[in-house]
């Protein structure tokens, strides 16, 4: 957007002021102080952004009247626009009445203005596009660090706000919360308060414990109180008791004495008088029972003696089980005896069979005996399995080779027969075709077939050639016939000639008849002539073509005839080579092919014949080989027979018969052996059984004898036991020993053992039995019979012993009956004894005498009891319900127990002492109760006081509030910190992505503004600092730069920011308000040129100044200058011409030293290599002449962005060398650098 016209209707001091046709580049508005420059600038802002309250206050209503507001005309995308904005004084809106009218007259809305401003809001406009003197002055007054910050803000401030400001603001906020020092931070103070409150709460909470302790104490005291009250009651009762006790004490003592007497007497009051009579009656009954008992005892002794006389043998009875088990073996012994007899008969029979077989095989007598006795044979040929196996291989060879020989012979015969059949078949076929072999016949037939095929092909070719010859002959004839023109061609030619002639004639007739139509007639005639000529040419051409065709046809015919002749010669040659035959060529070819096929069918027959012949010869060869092998095998067979002692004539079949007989003999022999073995086994078994039975019989006999001896000894012992217990006489005993009861069974058993009964010696007999066992355990049938006999006897012995046992049991039963009767009598006696003892025990006596004595003491006791009752009644009368009798009793009894003899001696005094002590104790307890009541009241008061203290709840509420405040502070700190963190990242992005571009451009502007002295503005990444590089490569911080240089940096940054916006499509006029006022004239001129050049690049620049010299600098470098009209008068800011400022007002310069600089003149010799031009004459006569110095080496500029204005090529970089005076140098740092121009002059 570029401003073209300005029209102020009323705004501040301006009314009716206009500016027309502002250039697109730069315009300088000149006016003295308070001429309204700032008002004009604010008018522009108002046009763009409306009447803000601030501007409304300052500039409305207009001082000199007029309608508030105005209009500007601008050019922008889409043409020109007129922006009108008027304020309505009665409304407070910012926008006012805004109209944007396009060049086509259509009104558009505020959006168009926003679009023209490129979305830049007022804050950005103010920050970037409006550079005021104020900002520069503020910058100048800042200290170095602040200025550095300010510049850094600008370098990064392509925006509404400065990142630096925001970050700093956030940091300040955080520090307020957490504090640069601990004491200053808000949170720290809150935390301290919190700790204090917590301490207080802890203390207050302790009061709760105190309250609980007090409650516990009160509880304890309550318990004590209750206990004390209880005790006092008890003690009062006790006191009363003692009082009564003192009164009853004399009677009590007497009563005690009687009680002691009674106790000392220890009388038995419970003994009845009837006890003595009962005892006498019991003694009489007992004597009668004793007599009955003696009688029963005699009867029992008789029975026992009888039982002992029975001859019981316990040893035999103990063996009865074994004897029964042995008796069960009887059937087995019988069975064994039968088996032995059967096997013996079988052995005899087998022996006979063996003798017969051996005789059949011609075995000698000696060998027969050897066979029966199981000895080795002497002369019998060995026909065992090994021998037969040894002969098996030669026999097998003979058989195999005989078989192979036979097979070979059969094969040869078969092959020979097949060969002869095939030979006959082949000979027959060859004979019928008249050839000797098939191959020659097949070759001959192949030749015939190929010749016939060739003959047929030649015939076909000949036919085609003949046909072609006829066609050519016809063509020649037709061409010869058509030598004249063909009809179609003739008709065409006729058409040509007729129409040509007609036209010719028509033309001539026209010329003739109408001389005026001569031209038409000539044309028609000419056209007719042309047609005639064309017809003539056509005819000639057609005739030439027909002759040529005829020649060609004739040549072809001649060549064809020659080919036909060659073909016929070939046909004749084929006919000659073919055998004479009458049929057609095709039938001949078919015959030849069928014959060839038949010959091919005979080929397998021929091959089979050859194969059969080969097989026949091979079979014959094998037969002869087999024959030889048969002979060799037979020889081997005979040799083997000889070696084995057999007849050589023996055939294998004979040998097999002999081997079978030998096997039968051997089997019979083995059968005999097995029978003999079985017989031995049976005999062994029988022997074992008879031996066991024999042993059992011996044991039985020994046991019988041992029992007899034991019985005799026992009876003898019993007889000596005494007359009182046994009546067994010596005669009885002798009878037992002499064997009164000896039975026949034992004797028979002893006999069967073949041993005298009287000579029984178990040791010798067992030895004999053992020897017998070793001699032979075999037994025969007789031994078996003897064993059976022994078994029968032992059974009989056992049966007799069992009968004795039954008798003894019957006697024992009778004895038991008598024993029971004795026991009954004995029980009756015992019962009488117990009743006697019970009567004594019941009354506590051991003897009857003691009982009588006790009855005497009882009578004395009854007298003392009567006295005791009398004293007790007296005591009861005294107590009479005042205190419980038991209490007095306990007291008197306890005192007695406690004091013992003392009570009886000094009882009354003792009781009185105790009575007094209890009274004192009661009084003390009562005092303690009173104290406790008092303390209880105090405790209650203290507890109430503690309970009514609400400070704890209050403190807790305060703590809760504090916690919330701390939390809120912390959260606020967090949000500030996080915002800073995010902004830091924005900074990173900005510094990394955008700032370099801005700074690069700013560096180029700075280079121009300082005429190459400072070449670069940059910033270390992440640091809030700017660095300026000197041309000599030295990087300087901002604070060491002079104010002018810093302002140059400032302007350079602004220009680069504006350029950056322009690149983003935002072109807004740059408004500068006296920004060069602090520049010396040289640098001001440079700056003016930079601004001019910047404007020439398409950025409209509007500058306000009140300094004439600055105005003139701009004027001199070709910038349009407008002079502002007088305030309050309607008028136009006209273009400046030198004569317009005839009387310039004296200007008070803010920086006199600069002015001083400008006034200094000094002649400086011109350096040779520098081209010097004289400036155009200054409009101000008092102004010193300035020279422009064109510097050869221009400062390096980043040309990426910078384009020099082609119109200003003549303007170089200016160095005000003439005005440089060392003594009058301004404090600017850059001026301290020695200038190259002086170096060249050699004056420095």
């Amino acid at each position: 957007m570029k401003i073209k016209d300005i029209q102020i209707d009323g705004f501040g001091v301006w009314s009716g002021m206009t500016v027309h046709s502002m250039p697109d580049t730069m315009t300088v508005f000149y006016g003295p102080n308070e001429a309204g420059k700032t008002t004009l600038m604010n008018f522009l802002r108002t046009m763009f952004y409306g009447f803000t309250p601030d501007r409304r206050t300052r500039y409305l209503p207009p001082v000199y009247g007029g309608k508030p507001g105005g209009a500007i005309r601008v050019t922008g995308p889409g043409g020109g626009y007129e922006i009108t904005r008027r304020a309505q004084m009665d409304q407070g809106g910012t926008a006012g009445a805004l109209t944007v009218t396009g060049s086509d007259g259509l009104q558009q809305g505020a959006h168009r203005l926003t679009m023209l401003l490129g979305q830049v809001d007022e804050s950005i406009f103010t920050n970037v596009f409006a550079i005021g003197l104020r900002e520069l002055q503020e910058l100048s007054t800042l200290d170095d660090t602040a200025a550095a910050d300010e510049l850094y803000k600008l370098s990064s401030g392509l925006d509404r706000v400065s990142l630096v400001d925001v970050t700093r603001q956030l940091k300040t906020g955080r520090q307020t919360i957490v504090g640069p020092t601990l004491e200053e931070g808000q949170m720290q103070r809150l935390m301290t308060m919190r700790e204090r409150l917590k301490d207080e709460i802890d203390t207050l909470a302790m009061q709760g414990k105190r309250w609980a302790e007090l409650a516990a104490l009160r509880n304890t005291q309550n318990l004590e109180l209750e206990e004390l009250k209880e005790r006092i009651t008890q003690w009062e009762l006790e006191s009363k008791t003692y009082e009564v006790a003192i009164q009853v004490s004399p009677n009590w003592v007497k009563r005690c004495e009687i009680e002691h007497s009674i106790a000392a007497l220890n009388a038995r009051t419970d003994v009845p008088e009837s006890a003595a009579e009962k005892l006498e009656e019991l003694n009489a009954k007992r004597a009668e029972r004793e007599d009955n008992l003696e009688e029963l005892r005699d009867k029992r002794r008789g029975l026992r003696l009888e039982a002992r006389r029975l001859p019981l043998r316990r040893g035999v009875l103990e063996l009865s089980n074994k004897i029964e088990a042995a008796a069960e073996q009887t059937p087995w012994i019988n069975s064994l005896q039968k088996n032995i007899q059967r096997v013996e008969s079988q052995i005899e029979q087998t022996k006979r069979q063996l003798v017969e077989d051996s005789q059949r095989l011609d075995v000698s007598e000696e060998d027969q005996q050897a066979l029966l006795e199981d000895r080795e044979l002497r002369s019998m040929p060995d026909l065992s399995r090994q021998t037969i196996n040894a002969l098996a291989e030669p026999a097998s060879e003979v058989r195999i080779w005989s078989t192979r020989f036979k097979q070979a012979k059969q094969q040869a015969a078969t092959d020979k027969k097949q060969m002869e059949q095939l030979e006959a078949e082949l000979d027959e076929a060859l004979e019928s075709r008249g050839g000797n072999d098939i191959d020659s016949l097949m070759a001959k037939n192949n030749d015939s077939v190929s010749l016939l095929r060739r003959r047929i092909l030649v015939q076909e070719t000949l036919d085609q050639q003949n046909s072609r010859r006829e066609q050519l002959e016809d063509q020649v004839v037709s061409l010869q016939v058509d030598d004249a023109l063909p009809v179609s061609h003739s008709m065409l030619m006729a058409l040509f000639f007729i129409s040509g002639g007609t036209l010719l004639l028509w033309g001539f007739s026209t010329m003739w008849n109408d001389p005026e139509a001569m031209q038409n007639g000539v044309l028609t005639s000419g056209f007719g002539v042309l047609l005639l000529f064309a017809g003539l040419m056509f005819g000639s051409n057609v005739e030439r073509g027909t002759a040529s065709e005829l020649d060609n046809a004739e040549e072809q015919l001649l060549a064809l005839k020659k080919e036909i002749r060659n073909t016929e010669a070939e046909r004749d040659e084929c006919e000659r080579r073919l055998p004479p035959y009458t049929g057609s060529l095709e039938s001949r070819l078919r015959d030849a092919q069928s014959e060839l096929d038949e010959l091919q069918d005979l080929l397998p027959v021929q091959h089979n014949y050859i194969a059969a012949k080969d097989r026949y010869q091979a079979a014959r060869k094998r037969a002869s080989q087999a024959h030889g092998s048969v002979k060799a095998a037979k020889t081997h067979w005979q040799t083997m027979l000889r070696q084995l002692g057999l007849a050589e004539s023996l055939s294998p079949r004979n040998l097999r018969v002999m081997a079978e007989g030998y096997d039968s003999l051997m089997q019979t022999r083995r059968h005999l052996y097995s029978l003999e073995e079985e017989l031995d086994n049976r005999k062994l078994e029988l022997g074992a059984i008879t031996q066991r039975i024999d042993s059992l019989a011996q044991q039985t006999l020994a046991a019988s004898i041992a029992s007899d001896l034991r019985n005799a000894s026992k009876n003898r012992d019993l007889s000596y036991e005494g007359d009182a217990t046994s009546n067994l006489s010596d005669a009885d005993y002798q009878g037992v020993v002499a064997g009164d009861y000896e039975d026949d069974d034992v004797t028979a058993l002893a006999e069967s053992l073949d041993t005298p009964v009287a000579d029984q010696n178990p040791g010798l007999r067992s030895e004999a039995a053992v020897n017998g066992h070793y001699v032979s355990v075999k037994a025969d049938v007789a031994a078996g019979n003897r064993a059976l006999d022994q078994l029968a006897k032992m059974n009989s012995l056992v049966a007799s012993q069992e009968q004795f046992v039954h008798q003894k049991r019957a006697l024992k039963d009778q004895d038991h009956q008598l024993a029971k009767q004795s026991a009954v009598v004995q029980k009756a006696i015992d019962k009488l004894d117990r009743v006697h003892s019970a009567v004594l025990t019941e009354h506590g006596f051991e003897t009857e005498e003691q009982l009588v004595a006790a009855l005497d003491i009882k009578h004395q006791h009854e007298q003392l009891e009567a006295q005791l009752r009398e004293y007790s009644e007296r005591i009861q009368a005294v107590i009479a319900g005042t205190v419980p009798y038991e209490t007095v009793d306990r007291l008197m009894s306890g005192e007695e127990a406690e004091a013992g003899v003392q009570l009886r001696s000094t009882g009354h005094e003792y009781l009185e002492t105790r009575w007094t002590a209890i009274g004192q104790r009661t009084q003390q307890a009562q005092e303690r109760v009173d104290q406790l009541h008092l303390r209880q009241g105090e405790l209650g008061q203290e507890m109430k006081s503690l309970a009514s203290n609400t400070r704890l709840a209050e403190a807790r509420l305060e703590l809760s509030c504090l916690e919330n405040q701390i939390k809120a502070c912390a959260e606020h700190w967090q949000s500030l910190a996080l915002t800073t963190g995010l902004l830091d990242r924005v900074c990173d992005v900005y510094e990394a992505e955008r700032q370099p571009e801005t700074l690069r451009e700013a560096s180029a502007f700075l280079t121009q503004l300082t005429e190459g002295k400072y070449v670069r503005i940059w910033t270390p990444l992440g640091k809030n600092q700017l660095r300026i590089d000197h041309a000599n490569g030295q990087a300087l911080p901002l604070e060491v730069l002079s104010r002018g240089t810093r302002e140059a940096v400032f302007i350079a940054l602004r220009l680069s920011l504006a350029a950056a916006y322009a690149r983003r499509g935002v072109t807004i006029p740059l408004v500068l308000d006296d920004v060069l006022v602090n520049f010396d004239s040289v640098r001001a001129e440079s700056a003016a040129k930079v601004l001019r050049d910047f404007a020439s690049l398409g950025h409209q620049v509007v500058m306000f100044t009140c300094h004439e010299h600055i105005m003139k600098i701009f004027y001199e470098i070709g910038v349009q200058v407008r002079v502002l009209p007088q305030q309050g008068e309607a008028g136009e800011a006209e273009i400046y011409y030198p004569e317009m400022v005839a009387e310039p007002e004296p200007i008070e310069e803010p920086e006199p030293e600069i002015e001083l600089d400008l006034d200094v003149e000094e002649e400086v010799p011109e350096p040779e290599p520098i081209k010097v031009e004289i400036n155009p004459p200054s409009p101000n006569p008092s102004r010193p002449v300035r020279r422009l110095v064109v510097v050869d080496q221009q400062p390096e500029i980043d040309w990426l962005w910078y384009e020099r204005n082609p119109d200003s090529v003549d303007w170089g970089w200016v160095e005000a060398s003439e005005q440089v005076d060392e003594d009058t140098l301004p404090p600017d740092l850059w001026r301290n650098r020695p200038l190259p121009v002086f170096e060249q002059d050699g004056q420095m």
């Binding site: 509404r160 720290q188 809150l190 935390m191 709760g208 305060e958």
Partner: protein, 421 residues
């Protein structure tokens, strides 16, 4: 068989040791009321017991933490129990986690009318009037487990009305299976009805709310059981202060001319609903960030001051505890697309939100504070939700700052007592 009617009160969670929370500024004129609010609410429960002439009170735990409540707590309870004893009103008390029977000081005897249930097992106490059994109260003090085990309350059925008292979390499904007519539960500060039909299962809640999350009315439950065992349950509010969190969104803003008008209307409505109680309100205002001039902390502070001055001084008072700007659902897209610092800032904030990485403020804490554990704990962002909230706040603050508004960063916390030396 018809029996006599009776009535009882079900109350719990007095938490006499807990002060009122979520208040940053303690107004002098409300301080005493705020301090006493929990005690007055609890006292009202006992007063109602006398006024309503109930037969007994059922207390379901967490009445007070004796060590934290100090002497006042135990003395207060003893006084109340004694008052009830004088009027022959029984108290059945099942202790919670804070007031388990073991924690009650042994020397301090409870009056005879108070029966404190054991924490070892469920005890059954029969309430008799003139020797006629009317109700069986089953109860158990908390043994530290979080849940109520319904199966422990299983018992042989009889003709009495059965009330079970317990403290802890409960599952209505399991409680329903037991033969209990009324489950008087404690352990939740907000009243909650798990079941309205028999058996009735209720948490009566705390008589006085303590924080913003405990919005709405608070009190106790009065239960009338008639002769036919039909019951009527009344919730009686006894709270002195009532918390409320009010959102003012764009729609609300559209209703009024400006935010103050909207706030005034809302206060009027709240006061009408609170029926004469004091209010503690936290405001959450959603503002059209693009067009509103009032966004910054100082503007909010000014608004808060206005609210307190206008509505916080009266009786009953509506005291505004805080004003918070609700982050808009989305900031204007054109801001984010701007090729400015603001645009960069919003893009980076969006990236941060997407990254969802924990915000590490430790270096800044170390640099700006002594960096001790206390400071780290106070200033570190602990969890994701607070991180997101902080990021929202920071984004709004950044927008405010980068749009060129004059922002008084300390306006939020300046009013706190610690700000002045």
């Amino acid at each position: 068989m018809a029996k006599e009617s009776f009535r009882f009160i079900h109350a719990s969670d007095f938490h006499l040791e807990r002060p009122m929370h979520d208040i940053s500024d303690l107004p002098d004129h409300l301080k005493e009321a705020l301090v006493e609010a929990p005690w007055r609410a609890a006292e009202s429960v006992f007063e109602h017991a006398i006024l309503e002439n109930v037969d007994f009170i059922v207390l379901a735990g967490d009445l007070l933490n004796l060590s934290a409540a100090g002497a006042q707590g135990a003395a207060f309870l003893l006084d109340q129990f004694e008052n009830l004893r004088q009027r022959d009103i029984q108290v059945f008390w099942a202790g919670g986690e804070l007031d388990a029977p073991e924690l009650w000081p042994e020397p301090v005897r409870l009056p005879d009318n108070v029966h404190m249930f054991s924490s070892d097992e469920v005890e059954a106490v029969v309430y008799r009037r003139n020797q006629v059994p009317l109700a069986t109260i089953l109860g158990r003090s908390s043994d530290g487990s979080e849940t109520v085990k319904a199966v422990e309350f299983a018992r042989e059925p009889d003709e009495n009305y059965v009330i079970a008292v317990a403290h802890g979390r409960a599952d209505s499904e399991t409680l329903r299976s037991e033969r209990v007519d009324y489950w008087a539960l404690g352990g939740k500060h907000q009243a909650e009805i798990l079941q309205t039909e028999e058996p009735i299962i209720r948490y009566c809640g705390s008589p006085q709310a303590r924080e913003l999350s405990e919005e709405g009315a608070h009190g106790f439950v009065l239960v009338d059981v008639d002769a036919q065992r039909c019951i009527q349950v009344h919730s009686i509010d006894v709270d002195v202060f009532r918390y409320s969190e009010q959102d003012i969104d764009a729609d609300d803003m559209a209703m009024g001319r400006d935010v103050r008008q909207v706030l005034a209307k809302r206060v009027a409505r709240l006061q009408s609903e609170a029926s004469g109680r004091n209010l503690l309100v936290k405001w959450r205002v959603q503002i059209d960030v693009e067009n509103a001039s009032m966004v910054g902390p100082s503007a909010l502070e000014e608004l808060l001051t206005w609210l307190r001055r206008e509505f916080g001084q009266g009786s009953p008072a509506c005291w505004s505890t805080e004003i918070e700007i609700l982050p808009p659902k989305a900031l204007p897209a054109k801001w984010k697309e701007e090729d400015t610092i603001l645009g960069d800032f919003l893009r980076i904030a969006a990236e941060q939100r997407k990254e969802d990485k924990p915000l590490n403020l430790k270096p800044m804490i170390d640099a700006e504070t002594p960096g001790t554990n206390v400071w780290q704990a106070a200033l570190s962002i602990s969890n994701t939700s607070s991180q997101s909230m902080t990021l929202d706040k920071s984004t709004l603050l950044g927008v405010d700052l980068l749009r060129g508004h004059q922002v008084d960063l300390m306006a939020t916390t300046r009013r706190f007592g610690g700000s002045e030396k």
